[in-house]
Amino acid sequence: MTPVLQRLLTSWPVSRQLLGRDRLGRGPAARSSHSAQLSPRTASAQEVVGSICPYCGVGCGQRVYVQDGVVSQIEGDPDSPISRGRLCPKGSASKQLVSGPSRQRKVRYRRPHGTEWEDLALDEAMDIIADRVIATRRSSWEWEHEGKRTRRTMAVASLGGATLDNEENYLIKKLFTALGALQIENQARI
């Protein structure tokens, strides 16, 4: 049999029906080659990273699968004694949170009285913000309040964050306290 005909015969499900056990064409005969070698992207991911869901306080374990530098799947971590591999709807939507349409990727800047967003380089933004902090702090510094030593500025405040890591909250508290800016708050009080 010529190779073409031979390949046609074996690839044509009807012939597989006649030659094989799947007479009615409802099983292996009907299965395409694409279906035959399906495998989940979790099996072929280059890396699996242990993580914790960013949404609520239960702290469900998550497994983050990575393929070509991109998160390819986020699902529950069966090892976690807290969540046993399970997730809620928000936890299950984590991949769409980290790589979905709502993610902002660029610095946006609005000048005073401006009517639209403008571009601004990140390092430039950092520099300007540092200047603003120093200037506002200096212009509002309070050595005393009603005769008692306070050593602070009441002009710089911050809000956030219960969605941040402990290490991040630690740097905020350490830096702002050293700056004398004690009006630091977060969602714990809201």
């Binding site: 960013p54 993610r103 005073p112 913000i129 405040a157």
Partner: protein, 846 residues
């Protein structure tokens, strides 16, 4: 809990499968109610009346866990004779100063001694009071028969004597039979052999009596012996991944890491005065000096020397309330000029959205760091006030920086979950384009500021320049090492070796530790929070997954799970017990007491710290080591939880003439008017009770859910939930529109008519409720009005949290007016209700 902590709810389902009875008390029938055995609808804001009724019932039936109560609580302690209860002064405790609207707790003290609070407001004892603080040497007088008229037990009985099932029915709207059913279930499932647990969230906290609601549950659980025991306790269900972490390492104005109090402004108060004033000599806080000094060493390193009291003077001082709601008023008054928002959306999440946005319009500059373009970053362009014309974009001078943030998969770091468990999340991929972690942002901001101030010899800048700020950075993004920060939090000794327990902390500057309760999370230089030993390969306590503070202890106060002699109260509930052979405590968890302190230990004269506590004092944070049924100090609004009506309520307080919490924080401001309450004229203009809550499918202020297609389609539009009775009364159509009006503003929402919203019989009248999910705002795929816009600034006096679980409102069919007509509508309601600057501010009725 099934609504907002579904995966946590699996454990409730496991308990139910093993025969536990699940009782759900909530103004609204939720997905938790659907799975509960007993659902109890009650009027929002009446939790203390309900819990007080349970306390009264337990005491009347004599069903308290007597041996536990006598040994482990301050029930037997005798209170000084100048204490007067709310029953004596019709709703007020002794020591109330009407002008300053605050209490002086000196009349609440134990007889003959002064007890220091473990937490909360501790500044009373600074300065003048400091010498009496140390006088806690003599143990307070106690009557173990619990019959002395001024022992805590009898005061408790008397305080709640009028909280009868009938009163609970009239105040809470809970039918008597159902209240008694719940009381019986609780009694039947408490005691040596059985324990009951409470789980709560914002339903208790977001009230003008928030802290006292939780206190009421603590009193009840102490009476029933359900604290420190497996299957007992009170679990707070935190709404964010690391709300617990953000109070342990507090981005909060009133705390230093590890719940050390922030300094208050006093005349020339040194470090030792501060420690003596803020802590008790006995109990865990007896070691406060070591914790504070270690913190100062972690922050200012070499510059912190014994001579300069370890840079204690560098700390800014608090001079009153500086919570977020005070900060917003500072913005409105022009004192606050610069504002950072890190992963928070106050324009939707905080109360009174209008004041939040107007405040930000007064700023010089605003920095917003978030994953998505949240409402708090775009109010100047498309906020509600732009629509009503109250603000014009061109007139707003605020300079706004939006810096994209990295997601949890794009940075290393630890969250502290609702069970005090530190869990590490590893970076999987790099953040895209300009997105950076907040670790990166604040580290480099600090670095740039220090570089700009490098040459300064101005004393103002000393604290910044002396700061230890040299964290190693990795990779081409110069990301600071989160593990380096964690190791600083964990602390090290003089030679730089990581510490493994806060017992190693010294107060001579030889140790540094960023947060004493986290000491041990990096023990042996190993990131204990990153441990992921599979749950299946561990005990049911699973101690080798992550790391729980303090000392990886999973169940606090677990000494109370054994009787005074050290034997488990029952085999069934054994958790911790004294092993006579090994002369040590042992069990399923890290003991919450000195491991080698025998049950019979009695402190020697003059002992301090934990050594001053006996072998039968499980509550090691308290000065007397006992569970406080009566809080002689630490709470600004009374030693016993007392029912008061919320700030805005359609009914009068049936218990006392004192309508509302006398020391709640109120603010008389143009955009923060309150409604008349109870029988006062004008209260009928806002006849319905409104409550805000969350849905499973969305997350708090919506920043992390309303931009996601897969979540937005599950709850696609802002809606309000009303009972069929209210719908009929106001002509509201299922799936039609409704406008909800308060003295602050009016919002619109689609109408969902459902019998899950209970209408209740309260104080002889039929009361309807309006339910509002508060996720929505004007950005994202699914948009809508923000429920919190209709709320006011009115705060719990202890922690200054806003009352967003209950207010009054009116509701009518149809969409809300647009533009300036909206402002007119609100003003017309204010006029009809006779609302002025004084409404709801004073303490008289109305």
């Amino acid at each position: 809990m099934a609504e907002c902590h579904p995966v946590g709810f699996q454990w409730v389902m496991e308990a139910k499968a093993r025969g536990a009875t699940v009782v759900h008390v909530d103004p609204r029938y939720t997905r938790t109610s659907a799975l509960a055995d007993v659902y109890v609808p009650l009027r929002p804001g009446t939790d203390i009346a309900f819990l007080g009724g349970l306390i009264n019932h337990v005491l009347n039936e004599g069903k308290e866990f007597r041996e536990y109560v006598v040994a482990y609580t301050n029930a037997a302690t005798i209170v000084a004779d100048d204490f007067r209860d709310t029953e004596d002064l019709d709703g007020i405790f002794s020591g109330f100063d009407p002008e300053r609207r605050s209490y002086d707790p000196s009349s609440w003290q134990y007889e003959g001694t002064v007890a220091m609070p473990a937490a909360g407001h501790r500044e009373w004892w600074n300065g003048a009071g400091s010498e009496t603080a140390s006088s806690g040497r003599r143990p307070p007088a106690r009557d173990e028969t619990l019959t002395h008229p001024r022992c805590v037990f009898q005061l408790l009985r008397r305080h709640y004597s009028r909280y009868t099932p009938e009163l609970v029915e009239r105040i809470c709207g809970v039918p008597r039979q159902q209240f008694l059913q719940v009381a019986q279930l609780l009694i039947d499932n408490s005691g040596p052999e059985r324990t009951s647990a409470f789980a709560y969230a914002m339903g208790w906290t977001q009230h003008t009596v928030g802290v006292q609601s939780i206190r009421a549950a603590s009193v009840l659980q102490l009476l029933l012996g359900n604290v420190g025991r497996p299957g007992g306790g009170i679990l707070a269900l935190r709404g964010h991944a690391s709300i617990q972490g953000s109070t342990d390492i507090p981005t909060l104005y009133d705390l230093l890491p590890g719940y050390l109090p922030m300094r208050r402004a006093h005349d020339h108060q040194g470090l030792d005065d501060f420690v003596a004033g803020a802590s008790s000599r006995t109990g865990q806080w007896g070691h406060m000096r070591a914790y504070l000094v270690s913190l100062l060493k972690a922050w200012w390193g070499e510059s912190a020397t014994p001579e300069n009291e370890f840079c204690f003077d560098y700390l800014p001082r608090v001079t009153g309330d500086h919570g977020t709601y005070q900060t917003v008023q500072g913005q409105l008054d022009g004192s606050v000029k610069g504002y950072f928002l890190a992963g928070e959306n106050p324009a939707v999440g905080s109360a009174n959205g209008k004041m939040q946005r107007l405040g930000m319009s007064n700023l010089d500059w605003l920095v917003v760091r978030d994953l998505a373009m949240i409402e708090s970053a775009t109010w100047w362009l498309d906020g509600p006030e732009i629509e009503t014309g109250e603000l014009r974009t061109e007139d707003i001078g605020t300079e706004v920086f939006f810096l994209p943030a990295a997601a949890h998969t794009e940075k290393d770091g630890s969250f502290t979950n609702t069970q005090r468990l530190l869990q590490w999340h590893h970076q999987a991929v790099d953040p895209p384009d300009d997105a950076r972690s907040d670790l990166w942002f604040y580290y480099h901001l600090g670095r740039i500021i220090r570089e700009k101030l490098a040459g300064s010899d101005d004393e103002v800048d000393r604290p910044v320049l002396d700061l230890v700020w040299d964290y190693p950075t990795v990779g081409d993004l110069d990301e600071p090492s989160a593990e380096a920060v964690l190791s600083e939090i964990n602390g090290w000794d003089a030679s730089g070796r990581p510490l493994s327990s806060f017992t190693q902390l010294a107060d001579d500057g030889s140790t540094a530790c960023g947060c004493w309760i986290y000491c041990g999370c990096y023990a042996d230089g190993v990131n204990q929070t990153a441990r992921r030993k599979p749950g299946a390969e561990q005990s049911w306590v699973a101690p080798e997954w992550g790391w729980a503070w303090p000392a990886n202890r999973r169940l606090l106060y677990n000494r109370a799970s054994a009787d005074p002699a050290g034997r488990p109260w029952s085999q069934r509930k054994a958790y911790l017990w004294w092993d006579e052979d090994r002369r040590a405590w042992t069990g399923h968890d890290v003991p919450d007491c000195t491991t080698t302190k025998p049950p019979g230990y009695q402190p020697t004269e003059g002992a301090s710290g934990v050594d001053a506590l006996s072998g039968t004092d499980p509550f090691i944070m308290q000065a007397d080591g006992k569970g406080w049924l009566f809080a002689p100090a630490g709470l600004t609004d009374g030693p016993f939880p007392t029912h008061y009506e919320p700030q805005e309520s359609p009914v009068d307080n049936l218990l006392h003439t004192q309508q509302r919490n006398p020391v709640r924080r109120v603010f008389s401001r143009r955009h923060n008017r309150y409604h008349p309450s109870g029988g006062a004229s004008g209260a009928e203009v806002f006849p319905y009770v409104v409550s805000t809550y969350r849905l499973t499918e969305h997350h708090t202020a919506g920043g992390m859910s309303r931009g996601l297609p897969y979540l937005s389609e599950l709850q696609p539009e802002m809606f309000c939930e009303v009972s069929p009775e209210l719908a009929a009364e106001r002509g509201l159509e299922h799936l039609g529109w409704a406008t909800i009006i308060s003295a602050r503003t009016a919002i619109e929402a689609r109408v969902v008519v459902t019998s899950r919203m209970a209408s209740l019989d309260v104080a002889g009248r039929r009361l309807h409720q309006v339910g509002l999910p508060y996720h929505w705002g004007h950005n994202g795929l699914t948009t809508g009005d923000s429920a919190n816009d209709i709320l006011s600034f009115v705060l719990d006096p202890n922690i200054l949290i806003q009352e967003s679980k209950v207010a009054t409102c009116d509701i009518r069919p149809g969409r809300r007016p647009r533009g300036a007509a909206l402002v007119e509508l609100v003003e017309s309601y204010q006029r009809r209700a006779g609302i002025g600057p004084e409404t709801g501010v004073s303490n008289e009725r109305g």
